[in-house]
């Protein structure tokens, strides 16, 4: 079996001592930022990215990936214990999870979330290992025109899934693409929008954009209402679910895993959508529909499995197409490029040890997370008592140090203030920051492939419609755009995301 050989290669890479160590560091940090409200995985990965430049590529990616899926675990802990989802996908977990905690059943709720996440993460990793190679070989056939359409499709779908007004999300994407044009033009070398600043010739660093939009802007938002965050955290006891609980969570975990694995592939907010869909499904098919919202364990197990499965499968578009499905994935592209690897279909053949090592590390990471989250839950509960007054200077200082160490360049540090304030204003006006970052990362790809496709076709713009893959993707993008803007569907979408606050 080729798959087994590949996995053996993966495990021999992932089980190297430094890789296990950094996998552990990654999931530990991920859980921590998932638990702590006010800092998410995007800002964390952005801040730590410069540090990983000196690592081996596979070690760097293993750690960064660990932060991402570790945050999905951590987010559920705060959602259950203090009704404060650390990550947006855990918002739905708070509905029943916190209700269970108030009834003194925090233990089983946490256990259901952790076990569900572990099973889902394991299964979704298999899906990733099986689905990625064939997809990558299809992607190898893609020409520049197809890539252009694919990127456009990805960007459009990401707004269809994001919450907030579609018009604003579109504008955010376009703005991101515009910022992406800063720097030297790829074909002619002409410096664009650099204002004679040598530092800008290489473009704006995406780490600065991410730290600004997700780190600084978030801190400003948190400092708006100046109330003490008093977390009343009850003692967690009786962790192990009862026989009845165990029986009740089997179905939701299985369904959540399937849903999450499928929806995670979609660009945008796949994992958020997955947890909401799973909750809706469990509520609809349950015989105890009345219990939902009053501490139904199904309402914890299902969505938690779904968002964790989605977190794993959202690596599929990244590893096979080089297309990020989430802002963290966009940062991972940067991590690939820094190490001289172009993310995309070639990774699997050119860097098999890296590709399979990363996948195998997710198994190890999920096992570590289970250990971290169940026996050590007390430590995370205690972490919730860290006051925000200590936390935000720490985030700011680390953000400044992290962006400075990108290239020992003060310009990257000033950029986080610019993007922090811009992001703060726009977020306050109801714009989501994620589309801007996706647009920023994908913008240069869009331009490059557009121009290359037109050069190859000798200026014939119909090439985008005559190539079947490109035409199909553009048609899908048009459908997605129409669906987002049509009022009837928009209303449904608002219902789905209404509770995501």
């Amino acid at each position: 079996m080729e798959l087994l050989d590949n996995l053996a290669l993966g495990f021999s890479t992932a089980l190297l001592i430094q890789n296990i160590l950094y996998c552990f560091v990654g999931v530990l940090l991920g859980t921590a930022v998932g638990v702590l409200p006010g800092i998410g995985p995007t800002a964390t990965v952005a801040m730590l990215l410069p540090i990983t430049f000196s690592f081996e590529p596979v070690t760097a990616l293993i750690m960064l990936a660990g932060i991402y899926y570790g945050a999905q675990y951590g987010g559920s802990t705060t959602a259950i214990l203090i009704n404060l989802p650390g990550e947006s996908s855990a918002a739905v977990t708070a509905l029943d999870g916190h209700e269970m905690a108030r009834q003194g059943r925090a233990g089983p709720a946490l256990a259901a979330a952790a076990i569900g996440s572990f099973i889902a993460g394991t299964v979704a990793t298999v899906v990733l290992a099986v689905a990625a190679p064939p997809l990558a070989s299809i992607a190898l056939e893609f020409g520049p025109a197809d890539y252009f359409s694919l990127v456009l499709f990805g960007l459009i779908v990401s707004i269809a899934l994001a919450r907030g007004a579609p018009l604003k999300a579109l504008a955010m994407i376009a703005l991101g693409v515009a910022f992406g044009t800063v720097g030297q033009d790829i074909y002619t070398g002409t410096p664009r929008f650099v204002f004679d600043q040598r530092e800008l010739y290489g473009g704006i660093d995406f780490v600065s954009v991410a730290v600004g939009m997700f780190g600084v802007a978030e801190i400003l938002r948190n400092l708006e209402n100046d109330q003490t965050r008093t977390a009343i955290v009850s003692k967690v006891k009786n962790l192990w679910p009862t026989r009845e609980d165990r029986r009740r969570i089997v179905g939701p975990i299985a369904r959540g895993t399937g849903l999450g694995a499928a929806l995670g592939v979609l660009p945008g907010g796949g994992h958020v959508l997955a947890s909401f869909t799973s909750y809706a499904v469990e509520k609809r098919i349950s015989k105890r529909r009345k219990e939902f919202g009053h501490g139904a364990i199904e309402g914890v197990a299902g969505p938690e499995s779904a968002n964790n499965a989605a977190a794993q499968t959202s690596f599929i578009p990244l590893l096979t197409l080089g297309l990020p499905a989430h802002p963290v994935m966009a940062l991972m592209i940067g991590a690939f490029i820094v190490h001289g690897i172009t993310p995309g279909p070639n990774v699997i053949t050119d860097e098999p040890a890296l590709f399979w090592g990363l996948i195998a590390s997710m198994w190890i990471g999920n096992a570590l997370l289970l250990l971290l989250n169940l026996p050590l839950i007390g430590i995370w509960v205690r972490m919730l008592r860290i006051p925000y007054e200590v936390l935000f200077p720490m985030i700011m200082l680390f953000a400044a140090i992290g962006t400075y160490s990108l290239g020992f360049n003060a310009f990257d540090v000033y950029a986080i203030v610019f993007f922090g304030i811009l992001g703060y204003i726009l977020i306050k006006c109801g714009c989501e920051p994620a589309p801007l970052l996706l647009g920023f990362v994908l913008g240069p790809l869009l331009e490059e492939n557009l121009r290359r496709a037109l050069i190859i076709s000798r200026g014939d713009a119909t090439v985008f419609l005559t190539r079947p893959i490109s035409a199909a993707l553009l048609a899908l993008a048009a459908v997605a755009l129409a669906l987002t803007v049509l009022p009837a569907i928009r209303k449904r979408r608002e219902v789905v995301f209404a509770e995501d606050e």
Partner: protein
């Protein structure tokens, strides 16, 4: 439909028009080229135009059927303090060195929240400076001098 004007919509739209317009106008000074062989100015012009057009759309929508968003208070103090702290860091890290810069940046940042008492602020700054020195300089071998050329020792 009820007419409601939405200030956040107008502001967001204005930001998009302004930045998109700036990109479009700025790109006019670069070579346009032809669609066959696009010059460096072609793509930014189109994208800047799209941003500005979408911004206009948001403004129009904000005038007739705006989104109902509460804008909330603006933490002027936090904004000013954080801008100052980050700019200070960028400007002095090479000149003062890692330790003094981190200490002052952390201390400045704590003033963003009016609830931090001076003694507490000093304690936080000291702790963070020590932690970041250990993590970044000792642990991760970041190549930044601990004390820079502006200091006599």
């Amino acid at each position: 439909m009820e007419r409601r004007r939405s200030f956040p919509d107008l502001l967001a739209g204005g930001v998009f028009v302004l930045i998109g317009g700036a990109f479009a106008v700025g790109s006019l000074s670069y070579e346009m080229g032809t669609p066959l062989r696009m010059g460096p100015g072609y793509f930014p012009l189109v994208v800047g135009g799209i941003v500005a057009a979408l911004g206009l759309g948001i403004i129009v929508k904000g005038l007739i059927a705006g989104e109902d968003i509460t804008f909330g208070t603006i933490p002027w103090r936090a904004i000013a303090v954080i801008v100052l702290a980050v700019v200070f860091f960028g400007f002095t890290v090479r000149r003062l060195g890692f330790v003094p810069t981190s200490a002052v940046t952390a201390l400045l940042t704590t003033f963003a929240s009016p609830r931090v008492r001076p003694l507490m602020a000093v304690a936080i700054a000291a702790g963070l400076t020590m932690a970041s020195t250990l993590i970044f300089v000792v642990g991760l071998q970041l190549r930044i001098p601990l004390f820079g050329p502006w200091l006599p020792f």
